[in-house]
Structure formats: C-alpha cells, structure tokens
C-alpha cells in the first residue's frame, strides 16, 4: 500500500506537480486539489511529473480532461513527463497522446514551455 502523494514545486513560471503512489478514484481528490490551487493562483503552466506513480485508472485520467480547457483558455498547458511504461500504456490506450504533450523527462517539458516556437 504505497498510498498517494502530490508534491508541488514552482520553478519560475512553471508549476511542477510530482505524483507518487497510485492515482485512482480514492486519491484523485488530492490531485484535483493541488491542480485547483495552482490554477487559483493563476499558474497555468503546469508539468505533471509521473516519476514515482505506479498506477493510474480512468478516474486519474479524467482529472486532466477536467482542467485542460480552462488552462489552455488562459494561455497555459498541462504537460506530462516521466511516465513509466505501465502508466503510459493507460494514457495511450485512451488516445491521450493526441491531446496532451507527453515527454520522457521534465526538462524537455520545461524547455517546451520556455521556448515554445
């Protein structure tokens, strides 16, 4: 039972949320809260770093869809990084790579925010 933890680190303009443990219908509210807080502070450039996330269900994926419109309407984005193959598979099955930018590591996602072109 690893539980779930979300840790927020603001790096300049960009807010990084580090997820660890499992993200299911039980732990989703914690993740939503962290995202909502960043957005309330008008921080719309968000990277979700999945480095230590072991498991995600559709409840977890739903969170991204619930916030992405508002974030993009404010010139921001939610970018994903460091997904383990097991977690990536779930995003891939549901066609997320067409809707979200997914990076191997956080730096690439950060760079994309800094030099968008």
């Amino acid at each position: 039972m690893s539980g779930f933890k979300v840790t927020r680190v603001d790096k300049g303009d960009v807010t990084v949320l580090y997820l660890s443990g499992f993200l299911d219908a039980h732990t989703v509210p914690d993740f939503e809260k962290a995202l909502q807080e960043a957005i309330n502070e008008k921080r719309y450039k968000i990277i979700v770093n999945f480095k230590d996330l072991d498991y995600i269900s559709s409840a977890g994926l739903g969170v991204f869809m619930g916030f992405i419109e508002e974030v993009r309407a404010n010139d921001g984005d939610i970018k994903l990084s460091n997904l383990s193959p097991r977690v990536f598979k779930v995003f891939d099955l549901l066609g997320f790579p067409a809707l979200f930018e997914i990076f191997d590591d956080e730096e690439q996602a950060m760079e994309k925010f800094l030099k968008p072109e």
Binding site: M1, F22, D24, A25, H26, Y55, S57, S58, A59, L61, G62, V63, F64, M65, G66, F67, I68, E69, E70, R86, K89, V90, L93, L94, G95, F96, A98, L99
Partner: protein, 148 residues
C-alpha cells in the same frame, strides 16, 4: 488434491473508494497465482478497478454502507471476474464511444471506464436487472494475444 475444474473465489467488500487498492491487491494475488504475466495482471487489475469504481460512483453514489460482490472464476481457459452492485443499473447500449477531444472541450470528464474495460479484457458483458442489480463480467483468456 483438487481436480482441474473451475475455482471460485467470492469477495464482498464495502463500496468505499479506499477499498479499491485492496481489491486490486486481491486480484493481483489470484491472477499471479493463476500464472498470468505482468502485463495481463495489470490489465485485469485496471479493468476490475474500473468496474468497482463505477459501482461505487454510479450505482451507490459513494454510499460506503453498500456492498460490492466480486466473484472470481478461474478455469483452465480463462479468468472471469463478475462485479455485482445492487444499484439502479443503466443501459449499456446507449453509451457513446468516448471522444476525449469532445470530453475535454466540455470540461466533463468521463465515459472512459467501460471503453477501457473493453480494451483491456477479452470479453466484457453487462447483465443488468434494472432497479435491482448490475453485473459486469470481465473475461481474460489464458493465452490471449489481443492487440490494442
């Protein structure tokens, strides 16, 4: 000491989201012992999570005093998990194919769970008695080579 016939496990558990991780752990135990590989086990766990999440969310609206029944039937050919709730039911034929673009635009997440179950498992069937109970049958063949 046991013949080669269907093995049955039944689990009854209260409809609380905090029990989802315990349910996944149970399924992991059984699927692992049954010889499924790591990827298949991941798929089975996720499909069962989705079915139980639906029971908790849609059938019981997060009333944790309600119970979910899991019946796990293991035979030489397949693993079948039947998730039962005693909620109002729904009409599976009326579900749209999920469209994540549309969903995102409407800022209304959802509709992914059943699609995911169908993608992950070899067979998914609903057996619904409206107002009484909803049963989701999830089947994984032992030698499944399904590609997604």
């Amino acid at each position: 000491m046991q013949k080669n016939k269907t093995k049955i496990y039944r689990i009854q558990i209260s409809a609380a989201t905090e029990n989802l991780s315990i349910i996944r752990g149970f399924i992991q135990q059984i699927a692992q012992k049954a010889g499924f590989d790591a990827e298949q086990i991941d798929q089975i766990k996720l499909a069962v999570d989705e079915a139980c999440t639906n029971a908790i969310k849609h059938a019981y609206r997060f009333d944790a005093s309600k119970m979910i029944d899991l019946e796990i039937r293991l035979s030489d050919d397949q693993l079948e998990i039947v998730v039962t709730d005693y909620g109002p039911g729904f009409d599976p034929s009326k579900l749209d194919q999920p469209d994540i673009n549309k969903n995102a635009k409407k800022a209304k997440p959802g509709g992914l769970g059943i699609h995911l179950m169908k993608t992950l498992m070899d067979a998914v069937d609903f057996d619904i008695t409206p107002g009484q109970k909803t049963q989701v049958h999830l089947v994984k063949y032992r030698t499944a080579n399904k590609h997604h």
